[in-house]
């Protein structure tokens, strides 16, 4: 076999001996590596490096890889000249111990994955239980948390979201009305744009849009905050100071989101209906009084209550998933970024799944 750039190195396999000659460096390793891939090394017992003129780290790694492919590596003899032998020892002192780890069998891997998934689920349920219990008791007794923390979180989660939720909901209401108006107009059913808008916004779009925006803004912020506190040992500092990190960090957010989410959903519904009203009045020539009367008649109070209840489930899920991912952070800044992304993805997915469950409840 012939390997090497400009024939700088050559590798031959003859019966039980592999002979390498020339310069075994990062420039010459690739062709030799390809050559041993095609060669039969099953009977090899000796690797002769006596005629190697130069070897570098890539070269020693290549020799090591080749030895891994030889059956009975321990019995394989390496013959090398003084300088190459020294290089092998210096650059790859642990060559003999650098065995390739055999990949576990499929069933073993599957079992490990399953057990890991169960432990994640268990940890998630445990955190959820802790948060609910601590948050519930937190309403009734003085907890070890920073004074004003809940109010501060209400501002961050609620007040700072007002503009974006209001604006997006208004635009969505506008779009929904425009899309449906074009169809309804053909049948002279202009007035039903109010029904369509009210039902879809109160039942679906209001809570859903709000939850998705809150998941993007607040879910990511919670995950990033908790994860950063964990990697900078702030969580451990809290524990040592006798404070429960869940009570101190997560519960104020849980209380805050419980308080502000219904308000945000109400705002979203109102903004979307206002957006729709603009289309109805200007495009469908409906009077505002008729539009709003029709809209209010289309949805009952129980539907609004159901919507608020649904939004609370969304809110709690966002806080718990954000915290859960934050607590699971490993590593440094890259870990924080990773858990933040996964928290947002998981929160939005969970919100959609919960929405499906509630939609089925509407049916029954």
């Amino acid at each position: 076999m012939n390997g090497g750039v400009e024939r700088a190195a050559e590798i031959t396999v003859v019966q039980e001996t592999v002979t390498v000659t020339g310069a075994v460096t990062r420039d010459t390793v690739l062709p030799m590596f390809r050559a041993i891939g095609k060669a039969d090394l099953s009977r090899v017992k000796t690797i002769n490096l006596e005629r190697v003129t130069t070897i570098d780290s890539a070269g020693t790694a290549f020799i090591d890889v080749m030895m891994d492919r030889v059956p009975g590596r321990d019995a394989c003899r390496v013959i090398a000249g003084g300088e190459v032998s020294e290089m092998l020892a210096a650059l790859h002192a642990d060559a003999g111990g650098a065995r390739r780890r055999r990949r576990p069998r499929l069933l073993v891997r599957a079992r490990k994955k399953a057990s890991s998934a169960f432990s994640i689920l268990y940890a998630y349920l445990q955190l959820s239980a802790d948060v609910f219990v601590l948050a519930f008791f937190g309403f009734f007794r003085k907890m070890k948390k920073r004074p004003g923390a809940t109010w501060e979180q209400c501002v961050r989660i609620g007040v700072e979201s007002v503009m974006i939720i209001g604006l997006l909901s208004f635009v969505i209401g506008l779009i929904l009305a425009l899309q449906s108006a074009a169809q309804l107009r053909q049948f002279g059913a202009n007035i039903f744009v109010a029904d369509l808008l009210a039902v879809s916004v109160v039942r679906e779009m209001g809570p859903m849009m709000t939850a998705i925006i809150v998941a993007g803004r607040t879910g990511s912020a919670i995950a990033a905050e908790v994860a950063t506190m964990k990697v900078t040992e702030e969580m451990e500092a809290l524990t040592v100071m006798g404070l429960d990190p869940i009570s101190f960090v997560v519960v104020p957010k849980f209380h805050a989101i419980t308080l502000v989410m219904p308000i945000l959903v109400t705002l979203s519904i109102v903004a979307a209906i206002l957006g729709g009203a603009i289309v109805a009045v200007n495009y469908l020539d409906l009077s505002p009084v008729v539009f709003f009367r029709q809209a209010f008649n289309a949805v009952g109070p129980e539907e609004f209550v159901m919507s608020i209840v649904k939004s609370l489930f969304f809110a709690w899920t966002i806080v718990i998933i954000g915290s859960f991912h934050g607590f699971r952070v490993t590593g440094g800044a890259d870990g924080v970024g990773r858990v933040t992304t996964s928290a947002v993805v998981a929160s939005i997915s969970a919100v959609i799944v919960i929405d499906v469950v509630f939609s089925m409840l509407y049916l029954f």
Binding site: K144, R146, T232, E236, A237, T239, V240, M241, G242, L243
Partner: protein
Amino acid sequence: MASHAVDVQSLVVEYSGTRVLDGVTCSIDAQNVTCIVGTSGCGKTTLLKTILQLVPAASGSIELLGEDVIEREPEERAELLLQVGVLFQNGALLNSLTVAENIALPLRLHTDLPDEVIARVVREKLEIVNLPGAQNLLPPELSGGMKKRAALARAIVLDPRVVFFDEPSAGLDPVSSARLDMLMLSLKKHLRMTLVVVTHKLSSIFTVADKIVFLDEGHVVFDGTLKAARASDIEVVAHFFDPFEERATEFS
């Protein structure tokens, strides 16, 4: 006070099946400075965190101020830990709070002291750590050395009997590091605190240590005075305390 502030017996700690501490037995004398030393990855910080029960032990026992920390219920353990202060490697100050709020936090949560008294205690502690006037700064506005001193002020705000230091010199210039060493000696001398310092910085060890617990690959290989450690013929200990001479011989 017990003559030993901390007693560790046959402690085993494992992370995902890998044994990090393997039968560690050592003691920390009260009102002394004990340095837990060893090369990177030998288990020093894990030992510290296990004593504080931030990391669970697989087996063994730990007595902190005469009480078994492993067997205690979490609430009782939290009470016990109020007698302990910790200076974490990066200070671990809460970034959303000012320095004064950080230092006052344990007082606000564990005492009924009026605000005026709390403010006075905070000022006193800041004086002790040579950070007067830093009350209203946020942690990101502090230098590395100032952060550590502010964190130390928080660690000693409840007048703990034992203070743990995790790599206090990490990331500090020699002057700030020496200043922190002097602070440690001052805490020991004037406030009669027991100090446990996890470090591998020789200058700090030579300045503050009364006793050395030397860890190597999860085992205690030396437990004795600094003087005895420097004279030790245990290879890894001798190599640690005289690394430059060893290197020079190796390459000559």
